[in-house]
Amino acid sequence: MQEQEQEQVQQEIQEEIAQEISPRQQILVMRNIMDNQLETCDDIEIGRVADIEAELLPDGRLVLTKLLTGPESLAGRVSSRLRPIVHFFLRHRFEHSIPIDEVDGFHPTLRLRGRARDYTIGASERWIANHILRWIPGSGWKEWHERLEQQQPGPCKPETEAEVQAETGNETQEIRAPGDAVGTNTSVASTTAHQPHDHTH
């Protein structure tokens, strides 16, 4: 019992220390972002970070703005002189970017706020699955495709308590609406739903 209490106390202390360190003081290095897996909120891995775009603001601050993926960005990491050569052949066809504010957290994987179908990054893999892998017996394409089709665009879960209340409030109103047979698992798109962006360059 005493050991458990001690563990609890230690955990509380660690949490307090973590809360005291402001996001400004918590430092990320390149290994926390670069080459890391991009994972959407519906647990689908859609690609890896090839490069990062930053903007130099008029006040001199350098702020990260976009995560880049694609062969041209990767070629630029080998040598910046390679970038125009690769661009000559590919013409930005496979380049994609995601605004940095889409990142929910810098964990071992970069968790994104939207669902996989909201981003164009995994489009080539989805094309392969829909046109090639679907013909392979036992590939599980049908279940995967049905699951993907059932998903609504937008974030997986509301971010703030206000959004939770708004969402539950809407759901209640919809269920109480007279004259309609509404199922218990009715999902209503939140008014603050995430707007899908076209993240293509």
Binding site: P23, R24, Q26, I27, L28, V29, M30, R31, N32, I33, M34, D51, I52, E53, A54, E55, L56, P58, G60, R61, L62, V63, L64, T65, L68, S73, G76, R77, S80, I100, D101, F106
Partner: protein
């Protein structure tokens, strides 16, 4: 005629910045950028450039385990982004008023304060 305000956006690829040469205002070469420190905010901001030989171990994440193993204290050299005057042609030029020794002493004092706080 008053000068027009500078409105064009300056976009930098981070991988261009990494590997760039760092030179002081008087043209002395400090080294190459090996890693970058970024704040963990909704709008992450570059706050420092890491350079020097130890920076390679730092980037690989083995500097502090090695220094702990050897019972020594190693830290990579850093330059604050606020000391950067310009970034052109894969070269980072520092401001004339930046003094490495003063900056490193400040960092050292900060680390000692942190260690004292942790203890």
């Amino acid at each position: 005629m008053p000068p027009q305000p500078h409105t064009s956006r300056t976009i930098i690829r981070i991988e261009d910045l990494i590997g760039s040469k760092i030179i002081t205002a008087d043209g002395r070469k400090l080294g190459h950028v090996v890693d970058i420190h970024v704040t963990r905010e909704r709008e992450p901001e570059v706050i420092a450039l890491v350079y020097g030989r130890l920076a390679w171990l730092y980037r690989l994440g083995v500097l502090y385990p090695f220094s702990h193993l050897l019972h020594l204290t190693f830290h990579p050299y850093t330059v604050p982004w606020s000391a950067v005057a310009k970034f052109e042609h894969l070269t980072v030029t520092l401001k004339p008023d930046f003094e490495e020794k003063v900056w490193e002493e400040e960092k050292q004092a900060e680390r000692q304060r942190e260690e004292h706080f942790q203890a």
